[in-house]
Amino acid sequence: MDLGLLTGFIAYSIFILAVGIWGYRKKSFESYAVADRTMGLGLATSAFIATFLSAVTIIGVSGYASINGWSAAAFVCYGYALGWILLLVAARRLHRVRLTTVPECLGARYESTGLRAFSALTIIALYSITLVVQLLAIGITMNTLIGLDTTVSIVTVGVVFVSYTMLGGLASVLRTDLVQATLLAAGVLLAAGVVIWMTGGTVITAPPANLGGFFGGSVSNTSDFIGWMLVWGLGIPTQSYYLHRFYASKNVRVARGQIAFGAIFVMVILLSVILVGTGAGMLVPANKLGDGAFPYLVKNIIGGWISLPILLAITAAIHSTTDGLLHIVGLYFAKDVFQPLRPHIDEAGLLRISRKATFVFGATVTGVAAYVSTHPITLISLIAAVAWGGMASTLFAPLFFGLFWRRATRRGAVASAVGGLACSIIAFTLNRVGLITLHEIYPGVIASLILMVVVSLVTRKNSEDTLNRFFPESVKA
């Protein structure tokens, strides 16, 4: 076991826990749920960067680049940009309704508690599985880097992020994200610098032919390129951990600015991750390529004190994404599942339930991840694989049509959400058995869009009061 790295990791964990617990001083539900709606541009931008770059992104993208080189950029970068633009376009309309959660927004727009509960339960289920996968990624990484047992690593990371998320809610998540974004950027840029130095710059100027092309791996032609662009572009703007931050923003400028300015930083870090992955493809033995390439490069080829900031960057990446996910899961359970059943619950009660739900879900996903690390469960990887397409197929049409089309109706939204999710699961299953080769997001989102338009046009509009709340500009006119 590497005691130097272990000490650095423990010191980081204590520091981040202290920053997180600081948020516990704030006792209101509003602070827990939406950081008192006072989030400024600096905090919002760092939170966006930290949340966007998860351990799965850093380990997964660098692993992909270690095999496919710079074509990893064609796989992710352009689709991410499309997702950011759609997020940015929706920011003002979500911010101005001053609600607390995304399912609450759908419930209010379509006057449907059923749709609110359905979307909340879908988000909770898919995010819980995503949390398990993220924890497994860090367990395996820490095992490679420090030599710490995978299960112990998962439990240690779990205790830290569950504690501060449960105690401080979004107020703590945002402040820890600021520290984590700094560590993440510093570690990744340092790793990129070391790789450029170790390869004598050839990772950029003259990479091997198999690592230097625009196309490669999953993106072998223009059609694949557009396909993956849509997968990321439609998936990102349906992720509640980004949309939720619009409610917490101080004003519209912050709601939009966090995406506009954060995107530039994320792209620089992402390109650095791809550079490190491509460098790993040049420096690491062929049998070590893939998801383990970055940790192997850090541990066995770079080595020394430089491993510590890189380990902290990876740990920061996992904490900053898992805390955002867990906060959404706990809060949405309290606000969108529990509160409709107990409408008279006061804010203090809601805060208590949010914290309890955050703890229960956090402890459960940590326990499941620890268990799965020694007893792999196929179902988890299957559900995790369908999570991205499932989320987009369920939420994209109801959310965007609800924000931009007055004629979108409750029945249209319900048909779209349920039909979209069902089609994406069916398509995923057909894909697994080899009957089709399409990503499930296409049939899911296409079915969802068609159902939304057709059913909305033949059913009754929402009340004028609701429509005027969501489309105030049409009232002025």
Partner: protein
């Protein structure tokens, strides 16, 4: 050569959200007046 195309194009598109933000702001300010 492809690497430079990737680096320049990816960095360039990361500025599009900022451009969209300023365009939306300009349009809204014009509508308000």
């Amino acid at each position: 050569m492809a690497v430079y195309v990737i680096l320049i194009s990816a960095l360039s598109i990361s500025f599009i959200p900022m451009a969209v933000m300023f365009l939306l702001e300009r349009r809204e300010n014009r509508d308000d007046h």
